[in-house]
């Protein structure tokens, strides 16, 4: 009976993590300009479709295959069939995590990347980048796992790897037209729909209960309640950390920064949600909220154009979350050896995912072209990439007007 209840719980968590894609679409779509909003949402949508298939075909085997190449890569369980219900559920749950890792990239590179090039990158990341690190961190035979690495629900495998890939993409693509002045000034490019961003923030927060809650060993586990409580406290504290940073540094209290703060709080607690006391979760989330609000500005000052501050939220939050999982491991606080392993895991995530993503972006750029032409940035990627616009009553699209204008 317990087994079936556990299965049902993981099924619910699958749906919750899947629903996070809607959260990403809302946050990223709302933070982009109206003329690019459909493009951003399409990246998340069809990215989900492609990754779902590819992860089943090869990603799952590379990450979780029972045969391992020395702890570096899985070698079995490709396109698996004939699985038990629990095995199939596990595959589905892991596919949701892979999709989440890739969706982190889509927002960072928004508003200037060719759609086809993004989908190509999403495929390669889901096939070659995400599964490799997931194998190291989560496969029982993975070399990091063998060292005692704790990555409860993916601070390393999902968030740090996703952010490292996003940073590589941002670097290769360059900033959006006019994002930075010649004098180095940063020009705001406000999103077109902040209520949509807020809704996305709530959806992601809700989805995170599945993200962390599904990673416990079972619904009967004593950890489930603490894990869910920690998740909620991390998000709350992240929002408060962002608020404290903005307030104490004399900045206006922005909605987008508050939402990113709570998301970073969630990321910060993801690595140790099942192994921390609630007080430690609160502290981790709070520091995450401060870190990402400060970090987003720091990244902009380096003239890196991350359209949704994904690098700050998932990268800084992910690395901090891995360290926090070591620092605040319940019953073994501040154990230097544990902290060293956590730091090694964070370094490994960046050291592997960043260059691998950088090379992948470069390769795609050489083969198909990566950056949308300036004419497409002018017209908006919704029309130039998809021949659709998000708000036809208010937007004036060349395509729509051509229909009216036979000349």
């Amino acid at each position: 009976m317990t087994e079936w209840i556990n299965l049902a719980w993981v099924g619910i968590c699958c749906a919750l993590v899947f629903f996070m894609q809607a959260g990403f679409a809302l946050v990223e779509g709302g933070l982009s300009r109206a003329k690019n909003s459909i493009n951003v949402i399409m990246k998340v949508y069809l990215g989900t479709c492609l990754i779902g298939v590819l992860f089943w075909v090869a990603g799952y085997g590379l990450a979780f295959g029972r045969e391992s190449a020395g702890g570096w890569l899985g070698l079995s369980d490709f396109a698996p069939g004939g699985q038990t219900s629990a095995q199939a559920m596990n595959l589905l749950y892991q596919a949701m995590f892979a999709t989440t890792a890739v969706s982190i990239v889509s927002g960072a590179v928004a508003e200037r990347m060719r759609y086809g090039a993004y989908l190509a990158f999403a495929c390669l990341m889901a096939l070659l980048i995400y599964p490799v690190y997931a194998h190291w961190a989560w496969n029982p035979q993975g070399w990091l796992k063998q060292l005692g690495f704790v990555d409860f629900a993916g601070d390393g495998a999902v968030h740090t790897v996703g952010a490292a890939a996003a940073a590589a993409g941002v670097l290769v693509l360059g900033p959006r037209l006019g994002r930075f002045g010649r004098d180095g000034s940063v020009r705001d490019i406000p999103g077109h729909n902040l209520p949509m961003v807020a809704l996305g923030g709530f959806v992601l927060w809700m989805g995170w209960f599945g993200f962390n809650g599904g990673s416990v060993s079972g619904i009967d586990s004593a950890n489930l309640g603490v894990t869910l409580l920690n998740t909620h406290l991390g998000a709350c504290a992240g929002g408060l950390g962002a608020l404290a940073f903005m307030r104490l540094s004399g900045r206006p209290v922005l909605l987008s920064a508050s939402i990113n703060g709570s998301l970073c709080g969630l990321v910060s607690i993801t690595g140790g949600a099942g192994t921390m006391a609630p007080g430690a979760a609160l502290l981790s989330g709070f520091i995450g909220g401060v870190l990402c609000t400060w970090g987003a500005e720091w990244i902009r000052r380096r003239r890196l154009d991350d359209a949704v501050d994904a690098i700050a939220v998932h990268g800084l939050g992910g690395i901090w979350g891995l360290l926090a999982a070591g620092l605040f491991y319940e019953g073994d606080l501040f154990n230097p050896q544990r902290i060293a392993v956590q730091a090694l895991g964070a370094v490994a995530a960046v050291a592997f995912a960043f260059p691998a993503s950088y090379l992948t972006f470069r390769l795609i750029g050489r083969l198909t072209g990566l950056r949308a032409p300036t004419l497409n940035e002018q017209r908006g990627l919704d029309y130039t990439e998809h021949h659709e616009i998000g708000y036809p009553e208010f937007q004036e699209a060349r395509g729509r007007l051509n229909l009216e204008d036979p000349a």
């Binding site: 037209l177 006019g178 020009r187 490019i189 406000p190 004419l375 007007l401």
Partner: protein, 261 residues
Amino acid sequence: MNGMNINQASQRRRAACAALAPVLSEDALIAALQWQQQTLSSDGITAIIAFIDGVAERNGLDAATRKRLYRIYHEALQRPEAELPLDPWPAMQAAAPTPMAPVTAAASTALNGSPAVAVPSPIEAPSPPSPPTVASAPFEDPSIPAEQRVFAALMRALLEGMRQSHAGLLDELRQSSLGQLPRLRSSAQVREQVRAAWNEGEPAPWLIATGEGTLAELVNQVYVALCETLGPIDADRLLTEAVREAQRTSAARSFSPRRLV
């Protein structure tokens, strides 16, 4: 004689623009230019010092900046036209509560060193032609292809919008656009027409004899320059407004300006 005075006044406006644009806001710059127009009597050192002192006092510039501005302004007065920003006269006209005409050097009153009591001079020189509005643009000649007339209207509306909202950055826009011109996929002749239009100071006709594709590419080059100069939000706003303005022309009935954007 009048022509010479107009040139002299234009040179002063452009020199003042070169010197003051980096240290003043757009509104303060226009105010300083208008004040110069009314008061500066000669290109002599004393008059320049008095003018710069007055601007510095009004805008709270420190002594070091003031000293630097004496030199920059004096040097700018000697520079050839091509090295100076465009004449800000249209922006001054747009900003003035009532239409003004340039004042000749001979007719201006001498600066008395106290900016607060500067007296407007009597107007002697004939007004330069005021920038034509798009609606009254002389591009009704049906022998000119509609896309070229629409492009001209769009460019003039775009530059007029720029003059009204960011006059101090017009020269940066021009430089940025000219910098991209070599990449235009068209003949050297077309590029030369565009270069001439940009260098023509006062509102140029912008009638470029080429096809729709090249005209759309030109609009894109200007859009990129606008993004670099103002940022993408203002660039989008100016382009949208220019399209709306161009749509009011008669040529837009046979060729929608949106086909160029």
